[in-house]
Point group: C2
Chain length 410, copies 2
C-alpha cells in the first residue's frame, strides 16, 4: 500500500550518528548511536543462544524494568563483548552510563548492542571516544541514518536500511501518519568468531502498550529475521530492538496495520541480509506447505543443508538433495505425496514441477538448468498433507564463504 | 587386545568380488558382491531419512521375514535407486533375483545396496552384466575384498576396509577364534545428488540370536557411523549390514567381547570415512561431557556448524564458535560452568585450556595456533553439570568441499 524505501530520510523525534572510534581500519565508521528526543516504548527480541553476550544480558534486564522510557541505543563493532564474564557486564553498563551522561538522560534509558570477536574485552578507551564523538554527531536526515547503518557493519558489504511512510490522513474518521524505519547488519562473520544479526527499528507512531509492542516485534521477527539463514549458526549477540516515540504529528496507530508495515520493514532488512550473505552468489526463497505444522522445520532443514546450498552455488537442478533434506527434517513426510517446483524469481505460475508421486517428472533438464542459473530462485515444496505455507530465505555456500570464514585472519 | 587391520585377508566361508558393469568411466570397479557359503544370521541398520531408497525398503522388509538365512549382498554404484517409485522396487528385487539365480540360492537370501544419483532408474543392462561378472569373479583373499571395497566407492578417494582376528584359544576352558571384517564407503557425494554411507560387516563367528545381532550392530553403529559427520546430511540410502555365518573353525562367541571388536571395526571404518571426507584437510575429534544427557546433541551441533568447520580449515583457534555452537544446541548449558580444551591428536594430558568460568583463560595464542595447525585435533568440552562422555568425529569444510559438491557436473 505504501512503498518500502531502501533508506531512512528521518523519523520525527529521532537522531542518529555513525562515527569512527578506532576499531576499524582506515577510519571506517565503527560506532553508532540512536537517540530519541522523547521517551520510547521499547521492545526487544534476543538470541536464543544460551551463551548470551553481556549487552544482551544488560538489555534483557533493562527492558524488564523499563520498557516505556527508552531514549537511546549505543552500538559498537569489532568486539562482541561475549564470553567476557562480570567485566563484560560492567563494561556494557559503563557504555550506557557514559552515553546517558553525555545526553543528559538516565542510565536506565539507554540500551546497548555489540558485535564482533567473542572472548575479548571491550577497549574502553575506544568506547569512550566513540560515545563522545557519536553524541556530538547526532543529526536527523538520511546521511545520519546511513552513517549509523554503515557503522554497525562487520563483513557486510553494504549498509542496510529500510523505511515506510504510512499516510492514512485521507480517512477523515481516523487520520494518522507515521514513519517506520530500520537499520540492520547481517549474518556476516567478524574476525574471527561471530555471526551476529543486529536490527533496530524506530517509529514515530504511538505504541501505547509495551506488551503489544513486544508481541508485534516478536511476530515480525518470526516472519523476517527468524526466517532467514546464511549458515544456520545462531550468534551470542543477535538482537532486534523496536523503539516508538509517538513524535509524529499524527501518531495514532491501528495495530493490525502497523503489524503489516513493521513486517514489511523487517522483511526488507532480513532479505538484504541474505542477499549480502557472506560469499553469497544466489538468493533463494524456500516455501514449504502441507506438512501438518512441520513446514518451518522442513524449510529450515533445506535452507541450512550444505548439500542443497552448494548445489545452488553450482547451478545444478539437484532436486534430490532438497527431497532428501525434507526427509531428514525430523517431521513426518511421505515422499509419495510430495510435489517440488522451482522457478525464476519473477516468473509467473507455479514454475517447473520436478518431483511428484515419489518419482521425478519428465521435466526438461535444460529448462531446469536455466532456472538454476538465475541469481534469484524460488523453490516450493508441497508435502501434500495440509497445513500452512511457510517461507524462508537463504543463500548459497560458495568458495568465498569458506575463504571469508576459514581464512579471515590469514 | 587384538589389532585392527586396515584390510581383509579373508573371512572363513565368505567370498567377495568387485567388477566393472559399465557405470563408472575408464573401466573402474563399480559393482560388488559378497557371498557366504553358509546361511548367515543378519542384521541391518538403515537411514532414518523418511525418503528411503528402494534397496533400503527391500532390505528392511526382507530382514523382517528372514534374518537367519542370508547368503549374499549385491551392491551397485552411480545410481541410488531412490525416488524411483514402484519401478525402483521392482528393479531392486530383480537385482536380488538375478543374483540368487546365478548363485543357486533363494531370492529371499539376497540383500541389496545402491548408492549414486537420486531420481534415476537403474540401467538394468548394466546391472545384469554386473551380476554375471560379479558371480564369476567371487573369490576369497585380500584382493577380492579390496576389489569389493573399491567397487562401492563414489567420491571416496580410497577403499575402506578393516578387520580383526580374535584368538581366545589359549583359554582352555573357552577356546574360540573368529574374524570380523568390514568394508565401507564414505559420506561422499556422487554426481550430483547423494551422500550415502554404506557399510557391510561380516564375521565367521556364530551369532545364534538375530535379535542380539541387531542389538550389537545398532550399538556399534551409534558409537561409530552415527558419531561421524561430514556435512550433517543424512542420505536416502545409508545402510549398515552385519552377516555372521559361523564358519570359523572355532566360531563360539562371547557377546560382550564380540561387541567390543565389532565396535572397533565399525569405528575404524567410520574414522576412515571422515578422514576421506570430501575436501577434508583436518580430522577432528569432539568430546563433550557433563551436559546431563545433552552431550551428543551438543557434540553434533559443534561437528556440523559451518562456522566451526571453516575455522578448523583456516587453522585459527576460534574457540568462540565452539562455545556459541554449544549454546545453540537446544539443551540446557551454562557458559559459566563450561571448560574447553584443544590438543594435538597424539598429545598427552588434557591439552590447552581455552575457556573457563565464562571467560577465556590467558592461554598462549601461539600455542593455540600450533595445535590448530595440526592435521588431527582433539576438542574437549566439559559442560560441568555431570553426565557421560560422548565423542564424535568430523572434518573441516574446505574450498574443495564446495568445489566437489557445487560443481561436480560442470
Amino acid at each position: 500500500m505504501f512503498p518500502i524505501q531502501p533508506a531512512i530520510d528521518g523519523i520525527a523525534g529521532f537522531k542518529a550518528s555513525g562515527v569512527h572510534c578506532g576499531y576499524k581500519k582506515d577510519g571506517a565508521l565503527d560506532f553508532a548511536l540512536i537517540y530519541s528526543e522523547h521517551p520510547c516504548v521499547a521492545a526487544g527480541v534476543f538470541t536464543t543462544n544460551l551463551v548470551k553476550a553481556a549487552p544482551v544480558l544488560v538489555d534483557i534486564e533493562r527492558l524488564e524494568t523499563n520498557n516505556t522510557q527508552i531514549r537511546a541505543v549505543i552500538i559498537n563493532t569489532r568486539c562482541a563483548n561475549a564470553c567476557t564474564g562480570q567485566q563484560g557486564i560492567d563494561n556494557a553498563l559503563l557504555m550506557t552510563r557514559w552515553t546517558a551522561e553525555r545526553l543528559g538522560i538516565a542510565e536506565e534509558e539507554v540500551l546497548v548492542m555489540s558485535t564482533g570477536v567473542i572472548g575479548t574485552q571491550l577497549d574502553m578507551d575506544k568506547i569512550r571516544r566513540g560515545v563522545d564523538l557519536a553524541v556530538d554527531a547526532l543529526a536527523d536526515g538520511e546521511t545520519a541514518w546511513m552513517n549509523a547503518a554503515a557503522a554497525i557493519m562487520t563483513t557486510d558489504t553494504r549498509p542496510k536500511a529500510a523505511s515506510v511512510l504510512t499516510d492514512f490522513r485521507y480517512k477523515e474518521t481516523a487520520g494518522y501518519q507515521y514513519h517506520i524505519g530500520g537499520i540492520a547488519k547481517g549474518a556476516g562473520m567478524i574476525a574471527p568468531n561471530m555471526a551476529t544479526m543486529l536490527g533496530l527499528i524506530v517509529t514515530d507512531s504511538r505504541l501505547g502498550d509495551p506488551a503489544m509492542a513486544h508481541s508485534l516485534l516478536f511476530e515480525a521477527a518470526e516472519q523476517s529475521f527468524n526466517s532467514i539463514s546464511v549458515d544456520g549458526d545462531t550468534s551470542t549477540n543477535d538482537t532486534l530492538l523496536l523503539l516508538a516515540n509517538g513524535a509524529s504529528a499524527d501518531p495514532a496507530v491501528h495495530y493490525d496495520q502497523f503489524n503489516e508495515f513493521l513486517g514489511d520493514v523487517c522483511l526488507q532488512l532480513a532479505v538484504e541480509i541474505v542477499r549480502d550473505g557472506e560469499g553469497a552468489t544466489k538468493f533463494i526463497e524456500i516455501a514449504v506447505q502441507g506438512a501438518q505444522g512441520g513446514e518451518r522445520q522442513i524449510a529450515n532443514t533445506i535452507a541450512t543443508s550444505p548439500l542443497v546450498k552448494t548445489a545452488f552455488y553450482g547451478g545444478d537442478p539437484n532436486w534430490g538433495r532438497i527431497v532428501a533434506a525434507a526427509g531428514r527434517a525430523g517431521v513426518p513426510v511421505d515422499p509419495a505425496q510430495m510435489r517440488l517446483w522451482i522457478k525464476a524469481w519473477d516468473a509467473d505460475g507455479d514454475g517447473l514441477l520436478l518431483f511428484e508421486n515419489g518419482v521425478p517428472t519428465d521435466y526438461d533438464e535444460a529448462h531446469a538448468k536455466a532456472i538454476m542459473a538465475q541469481a534469484d530462485i524460488r523453490v516450493r515444496l508441497d508435502c501434500g498433507m495440509g497445513g500452512e505455507l511457510v517461507t524462508v530465505y537463504t543463500c548459497d555456500i560458495s568458495h568465498d564463504y569458506v575463504s571469508i570464514n576459514g581464512h579471515y585472519r590469514t
